[in-house]
Symmetry: C2
Subunit: 332 residues, 2 copies
């Protein structure tokens, strides 16, 4: 059922038509090596006339140098990953690299299978989210010899390149901020933390910080499934039903926090006097709500951007911490 390409024009045909050798056409098209202006014109004319489109498959095989970059990402629903792709694709396109991707649904087993499938394309680099990979994935990536970029998480040991920030630090600073503001009865609303290990790291650092200041987490509500606005709303509703005297709630991210915010609006719960809300990600929408959301802005696009630049430049192994920014907002 695979598609068979029809009569495509080849380099040899262009060479024939232009009355030059194959290597000359190749040199002209890649603008590499020397050739006369006259020859260039004749080649380009033939290319134009025949509608020749170089075959990168053949080119890549012949040169054993790849301009593919593979992304193995957990999700496309969580805006984080499209943002990373966006940052990366701008750089990659400029440098005539091609991005290929696949989505793991936060499943490490699937990650391994998809990483294997990607390696079959012999990419210049594989970009993955975070540090949590199966042993098999790590072994395979190591053996492949291609660059490995771990994104959006610096709490662990990098295999090769790593770009992002510390989720633990984000959790810590979020807690410190709420404590500084005087909140003591703090709850948490989150989504499935086993799958989203980065959210898990934020949460545990958050709790540790609270504990260290004698204000241990008062209650938590963890919803199955992915993060969403509706789950945030529902989560806060349940949490407050159980523990009504909270004075602040930390959400696993802005989507969830917005759900909480809407819940408060709908129930007439005064923010932040009656209940404070704190998110994570710094989505644009959080800055357009009647009260700007208190949150942490993460460098998602920049992460993709820098990661792609490192790959394009074939930079030596390194860890790049892009940090994050706490946005005070008006909800906490």
């Amino acid at each position: 059922m695979e598609f068979k390409h029809q009569a495509t024009v080849t380099l040899a045909e262009v060479a024939e038509a232009a009355g030059v050798g194959e290597s000359t056409v190749s040199r002209v098209l890649r603008n590499h090596g020397s050739f006369s202006g006259k020859t260039r014109d004749r080649v380009m004319a033939a290319v134009e006339r025949l509608g020749y489109v170089p075959n990168r498959i053949a080119g890549t095989l012949a040169s054993t140098a790849s301009r593919l970059v593979a992304f193995v990402i957990p999700s496309l629903s969580n805006i984080v990953f499209p943002d990373v792709l966006r940052g990366a694709s701008a750089v990659l396109e400029e440098n005539r690299y091609q991005a290929v991707f696949s989505v793991t649904d936060y499943d490490p087993g699937k990650e391994e299978a998809l990483a294997a499938a990607m390696l079959a394309w012999r990419p210049a680099a594989v970009m993955l989210a975070g540090y949590e990979h199966t042993e098999g994935t790590v072994k395979m990536l190591r053996a492949s010899g291609c660059r490995i970029v771990e994104l959006l998480d610096l709490d662990g040991d990098a295999l090769d390149l790593a770009v992002g920030f510390s989720n633990r630090a984000a959790g810590r600073e979020s807690a410190a901020f709420l404590l500084k503001r005087g909140y003591r009865r703090i709850g948490y609303v989150g989504h499935d933390l086993n799958r989203d290990t980065r959210a898990g790291k934020r949460f545990s650092a958050f709790c540790e910080t609270l504990g260290a200041h004698d204000a241990p987490l008062a209650d938590r509500e963890i919803l199955a499934g992915a993060s969403s606005v509706e789950n945030g709303r529902l989560g806060l509703e349940r949490l407050l039903a159980r523990t009504p005297d909270l004075d602040a709630v930390y959400f696993s991210n802005d989507d969830m926090a917005l759900g909480g915010y809407f819940h408060c609006l709908a129930r007439g719960i005064a923010i932040p006097s009656q209940l404070a809300i704190f998110g994570y990600n710094g989505l644009d929408i959080g800055r357009a709500t009647p009260q700007p959301l208190s949150t942490i802005r993460t460098p998602r696009v920049a992460t993709g951007h820098v990661a792609a630049q490192l790959v394009v430049a074939n930079a030596p192994p390194q860890v790049v911490d892009l940090g994050f920014e706490l946005i005070e907002g008006a909800t906490a």
Copy 2:
């Protein structure tokens, strides 16, 4: 600066190690043709032992059959396109196809350049947004012989496959709904319509329908740049400053509409009694706001899903209308 792969294991080496011929290894790995169980085991053992990863570049070149699907999308910020990718990638992964993408920023010239770059990978299919392409793009795609899928727009003539719904119908139904609800002083807040031609189609059909019912568009505010919540807020603010007596506003999409909604919340404008708000896309967040957003829900994920299925099945040229759903909500 391109990356050179190091000593990779080849089919020939596996064949050697397993003590069989190359073609046998190839047959075993692709589970195609006949071979004995004993041979299979020996081959698989050798594959395992050597850590062999097949080279799809070479395989694709040899078979001249591609399992790549190329996406040329306008944006990754607009949730629409990640949603389409999500729907498609699930199907593609199941069928061992690989997705490659690039982002045009709504620039037709860039679309042409990127489409050319994609064709160089000899994909089984190229997926593009809508029908508006440069002459060069169309010519090139046609000549490539690969499948062409136009997404999210059915108002025009399909080149090959098309999956989505009619934006004009969406605009029409939105207008009809507002009129039916009794609104007569209707305004519009939108983003750059020259670039986002689908939003432009909705808008013109919307206006035509209003005009046909003697309630022509009262005023409009078009903001430069991409759609965003903040632009929606700002747009409504400006629109109302100029034309305060509007009773309803149609937004180019839900992001913009949410901005408008937040503006009303912040200014104490009663929704929908004082001002009605209508969006487009049917984002989840619009259902979690205190008043659910009145909007049209579009089948974004399904569009990607169906498009991928058609490609995988190598279906004959056709147009698939997935329709859309009007969500009454509570803001209009």
